[in-house]
Structure formats: structure tokens, C-alpha cells
């Protein structure tokens, strides 16, 4: 009950922050204008043929999914940056840590609150798009479900790693670290591709290994793959078809990654002087 109370409290607190309000406003604008944005891209056109209509719908969902994935991860970072450290700096944590509650429960409650909010955000955005496209095409696009779940996993991974850094880092340092990690891991696909085209196993191994520092970009590739198939997914992320090979097991690894980040945050916070 105590952890749940903290989670609900965190959710309410985060929901009313300026970051969240601006993020939600941008997201709704995105939802409203995503058909316009999508129409400027090349891809299968809707020509009346049923299969082509479904392909166009799936393509549209793939494009929108990329937006939800990116906005969800950005929002997860910005809303979680000060989750622990800011509370310590402001002193609001004092009345909480002195209650009959374990410190791991505080971390878990905070994580749960952010996870529910961001998970909810992704699911609602995804649901709106899915229903709209399903009605528009007259077919239920089931392949969207694993894709949106993988995006949800990505957002939770960003919440978890940001929360971990927040257990010992001020907001600015946390932002620098997380964004560096995000940009670095997002660009490792290029190094991987270089390794594959030059047939250099060393570069491929290093690139694949480093991608595990933050598996979100590979899981994003998996989400695209499950929704669009290999050819359109590779096009979607701007990768060469030969080098586009996201590893299936990375989603399992990401689940462990989320658990590990939360666990590490509890370890750091367990005996930390809060002054």
C-alpha cells in the first residue's frame, strides 16, 4: 500500500509539471498532424486495392510509431530527470524517508509512478492511432500490438536509466549523461553497418556490444520490423537492407535492463546521506 501510495503520488505530481503538459500538448498536435506529415513521404499509395490500403495503413502506423517512440522517450527523460535528486535537494524527501517505508520502496514507488504515466501515455497514443487506422482501412492491424508494446518497453527503459542516474546525479548532469548515452547508442547502427560492409567482425562485435549500454535503438528497430517487415522497416530507419538485422532477444535483454537499472538505483539510494 505504501509503495502504491508513492506511485500514485508520483504520477499526480508528474502529470501536473510544465514538462508533461507541454509534452502532452505536442503529442496531441502530432496526432492531429501525423497524416499530413506522412503524406509527404514516399511509400505505397492508397489506390483502392485492399492489400495496398492495408500496406499504406501499416506504413502510416510505422511512421506514427517512430514519433510516439521518440516523443515517449524524450518525455520519459525530461519528467524523470529530477525524480530523486531534486527531492533530496529541495528537502521534500525528508518527510518521506523517515516514514515506516524501506528506501527500496521509495525508489520502486517512484519508478512505478513514472512507468504508469509513460506506459499509459504510449498506450493511449498507440490506441488512438490503431483504432483510427483500423477504421480507415477496414482491417484490424494486429501487427501493431507487439510493435507498440516494444515502444512501451523502450519508454520504460528510458524511465529506468534516468531514474538510476537521478539517484545520485543532479538534474543537469543526469540530462547530459542520458542524452549522451541515447545519442551514442542510437548511432551505433551506423558503426555496425560499416563493420558489416567491410566484413570486420571486430567492429561489428564492438558496435553490437555497445548498443547494449542502452538497447532502445535496437528495440525500436525490432518494433519497426514486427510492424512493417524487413524491407519497409529498413527504409523507415534509413538502414541498408543487408545490414538491418535487429536481434530478437534484445527485447528480453531490455526487460532485464529495466530491472537492473531500478535495482542499481535502490542500491545507490539504500545508504545514501540525504543532506
Amino acid at each position: 500500500m505504501k509503495t502504491w501510495a508513492l506511485a500514485i503520488f508520483t504520477l499526480r505530481e508528474t502529470l501536473r509539471t510544465r514538462t508533461m503538459i507541454v509534452g502532452l500538448a505536442i503529442s496531441f498536435l502530432y496526432l492531429a498532424f501525423v497524416p499530413v506529415l506522412n503524406s509527404s513521404r514516399s511509400g505505397p499509395a492508397v489506390v483502392g486495392d485492399m492489400e495496398m490500403t492495408i500496406a499504406a495503413g501499416r506504413d502510416f502506423l510505422g511512421f506514427a510509431l517512430g514519433g510516439i517512440n521518440f516523443m515517449g522517450m524524450m518525455l520519459a527523460i525530461f519528467t524523470t530527470l529530477g525524480a530523486i535528486y531534486s527531492e533530496v535537494e529541495k528537502g521534500t524527501i525528508l518527510a518521506v524517508v523517515t516514514k515506516p517505508i524501506h528506501r527500496w520502496q521509495i525508489i520502486f514507488g517512484k519508478w512505478l509512478g513514472h512507468a504508469m504515466l509513460m506506459g499509459g501515455y504510449v498506450m493511449v497514443m498507440g490506441l488512438v492511432l490503431w483504432i483510427t487506422v483500423s477504421i480507415g482501412t477496414g482491417t484490424v492491424l494486429w501487427r501493431f500490438i507487439p510493435a507498440i508494446l516494444l515502444v512501451c518497453l523502450n519508454v520504460l527503459a528510458m524511465v529506468s536509466i534516468t531514474l538510476f542516474f537521478s539517484s545520485f546525479m543532479p538534474v543537469i548532469s543526469n540530462a547530459i549523461f542520458v542524452f549522451m548515452l541515447f545519442i551514442f547508442s542510437s548511432n551505433l547502427r551506423i558503426i555496425n553497418a560499416i563493420g558489416q560492409t567491410s566484413d570486420n567482425i571486430f567492429i561489428i562485435t564492438i558496435a553490437n556490444g555497445l548498443r547494449m549500454l542502452l538497447p532502445v535503438s535496437e528495440v525500436s528497430d525490432l518494433a519497426n520490423l514486427s510492424l512493417l517487415g524487413k524491407i519497409r522497416a529498413a527504409e523507415q530507419v534509413g538502414a541498408e537492407l543487408d545490414t538491418f538485422a535487429p536481434r530478437i532477444w534484445t527485447f528480453g535483454y531490455e526487460i532485464l535492463y529495466i530491472g537492473g537499472a531500478v535495482f542499481l538505483a535502490t542500491l545507490v539510494f539504500r545508504r545514501k546521506d540525504l543532506r
Binding site: 503520488f9 525528508l94 523517515t98 515506516p100 517505508i101
Partner: protein
């Protein structure tokens, strides 16, 4: 019945090597249940550090302690402990009743008890009319009251108050004082960190004086203050010979300009002192016997320890 607070060799060291600072140095202290313990000391003495170690906000470098017979940090003991931090900071987007409800949930108070408990505490701290107001609209005094509210929402057996009246006006101070006295009557142990010596003097049964991280004096309020009887005297024409006789008679004489402060050993000496000065032919302008104030005990203890 275990003591409410037992501290053995509690030490907190900050920094390393040449920059090492002992904020609290091998503190030994026992506070019995039902006592109101006033913890005094100049700024930087280590009072807040001590309380923060007891509440496990920070962790001791060495030493140990028990609260209500359980080791520091024990969750079951914390269910019976309340704490008001110094300069309490709030999640101010909540309403007063939501804020107390949240803290009641953290104490694990069941849903059927919570609403009643919240209403009772709001009434006790004088905020019933502001129950539905956002905390961000509160004055400093109201914030301090709601802070006290969250500390007593669990009906604690042991309550730590760190400068509870620092932001309050005289009326608010009186209310807090009354609250402490009510808690004392109900058998709650109160550990009071305060700079306001008059407040401590009026509410506490025991005091401890901390200086540079060391406990320099501890004991019952009565034994520390009551036996020391003082006489403030203003006198004209007192001869050196009479002054010497006064010095021989009493415990100590302190002269500052025209003012003379005499510490006597018992009430009989007060009468003898008055007679001695009058018989010498000196003219007494003021002769005020009084019990020594806590402030004097405090300053004396600090000076001695320095």
C-alpha cells in the same frame, strides 16, 4: 519498558584527512519514555545531524542507537515515531487534507481510520478551515502547522521536532508549546531541538547541551536549574570590606558596572546577604532573588566546554 532513545558512541565524520570534521563525536545519551527532552546547542553544534542520524536520513560513521527499543531504521519502530524536519519543505501542489492523507498512507494507516485521523489532526493544528486549500497558498506559520500535523498523524510514541517554532509568531509558538505539553500528558516522548531557550524551559523535563559535537551537559531540568538561586543587586556605597564579606558568604559574585549578580547556596543566604548589605550602611536600589535561567546554564556550559 525500554528507553525511548538510547545512543551509544554515535559519531558522524565529514571529509577526509586534513579536512575531516567531526560533526557529532561519540555521543552517549538515554532518554526515557514520556520525557520531553530539550536538545540545545549553538549553531553547528551537531543537533540536527544527531536527529538526522537517529532518523536514518544520514548514516553514522560509527556508534549505534535504538529508538523505542529497536535498532535505528527499524520499520516497525518508525510506525510509532513522528518527525518534523527543520525548515520543512512540502509537496505544495496538494491540499492540506490530501497532504495528511498521503502521509497517513505512508504510515500504513488503514482507509477506515485515515479520514477521521486527518480531520482530528487538522483540528489539533488549527487548520480545519484550510483543509481544502492548496498548501502553496499557506503562510509560513500554516506550513509549520501542517508540518507538525504530518508528524503526529500516526499518534506517535516518540516525536522528533527540529526547530518547530522557527517560523511561528508568538501565538503560534504558544499553540506548539501547548501541543507539546498535551503530548507530554498523553505520555509521548518528545525530542525537541530548539534555539528558543524559554520554550525549552517551559516544556521540557530533561535537557542536553551539545557543543562542537560533544554532549557537555545532560540532566533533569529541575536538577539543572532549580538549585541555583541568583540575586540581582544594585547598590550604592558598598565598601570593599563588605564586598569581601559578601564574597566569603556566597557561592560567587559577578560585578558588571553597577550591577552585581550573586549566586547563593540556599534561601537562608539571601536573607543573610540582604542584612549584611543593609547593616554596612550601603543603599540598596534593587535586590531581586530569582532562580537561575536556562540561558545562564546554557551559556555557562558552552563557555566551560570551549
Amino acid at each position: 519498558m525500554p528507553a525511548a532513545i538510547e545512543i551509544e558512541g554515535l559519531t558522524k565524520v565529514y571529509g577526509y584527512g586534513a579536512e575531516e570534521v567531526k560533526a557529532v563525536d561519540a555521543l552517549e545519551l538515554t532518554v526515557g519514555q514520556g520525557e520531553v527532552f530539550g536538545f540545545l546547542g549553538p549553531n553547528g553544534a551537531g543537533k540536527t545531524t544527531t536527529v538526522q542520524m537517529l532518523m536514518q536520513i544520514i548514516f553514522s560513521t560509527s556508534g549505534s542507537g535504538k529508538l523505542l527499543g529497536k535498532p535505528l531504521g527499524d520499520i516497525s519502530a518508525r510506525e510509532k515515531i513522528g518527525y518534523l524536519p527543520e525548515l520543512f519543505q512540502f509537496h505544495d501542489f496538494l491540499r492540506a487534507d490530501e497532504f495528511l492523507d498521503f502521509h497517513a498512507r505512508l504510515y500504513g494507516i488503514s482507509a477506515d481510520l485515515r479520514a477521521g485521523r486527518v480531520a482530528a489532526v487538522l483540528k489539533l493544528v488549527g487548520l480545519s478551515d484550510s483543509a481544502k486549500s492548496k498548501i502553496r497558498t499557506f503562510s509560513k506559520g500554516m506550513l509549520q502547522r501542517i508540518g507538525i500535523g504530518q508528524a503526529i498523524i500516526n499518534e506517535p510514541k516518540l516525536l522528533f521536532l527540529d526547530e518547530p517554532t522557527s517560523a511561528l509568531d508568538p501565538m503560534g509558538r504558544r499553540d506548539v508549546r501547548d501541543l507539546i505539553l498535551n503530548l507530554r500528558e498523553a505520555g509521548t516522548t518528545v525530542f525537541l531541538n530548539s534555539h528558543l531557550l524559554s520554550e525549552v524551559e517551559m516544556t521540557c523535563t530533561q535537557i542536553g547541551i551539545l557543543n562542537k559535537g560533544k554532549l557537555v551537559r545532560v540532566g533533569d531540568m529541575e536538577s539543572m536549574i532549580q538549585p541555583t538561586l541568583c540575586v540581582d543587586i544594585k547598590v550604592d556605597g558598598l565598601s570593599e570590606e563588605t564586598l569581601e564579606r559578601v564574597r566569603d558568604l556566597v557561592a560567587s559574585v559577578e560585578i558588571t558596572g553597577d550591577d552585581m549578580k550573586v549566586i547563593v547556596r540556599d534561601e537562608e543566604q539571601v536573607k543573610m546577604l540582604a542584612r549584611m548589605i543593609m547593616d554596612s550602611g550601603a543603599e540598596i536600589r534593587q535586590f531581586t532573588p530569582r532562580r537561575q535561567q536556562l540561558e545562564e546554564v546554557f551559556l555557562q556550559s558552552i563557555e566551560e566546554s570551549n
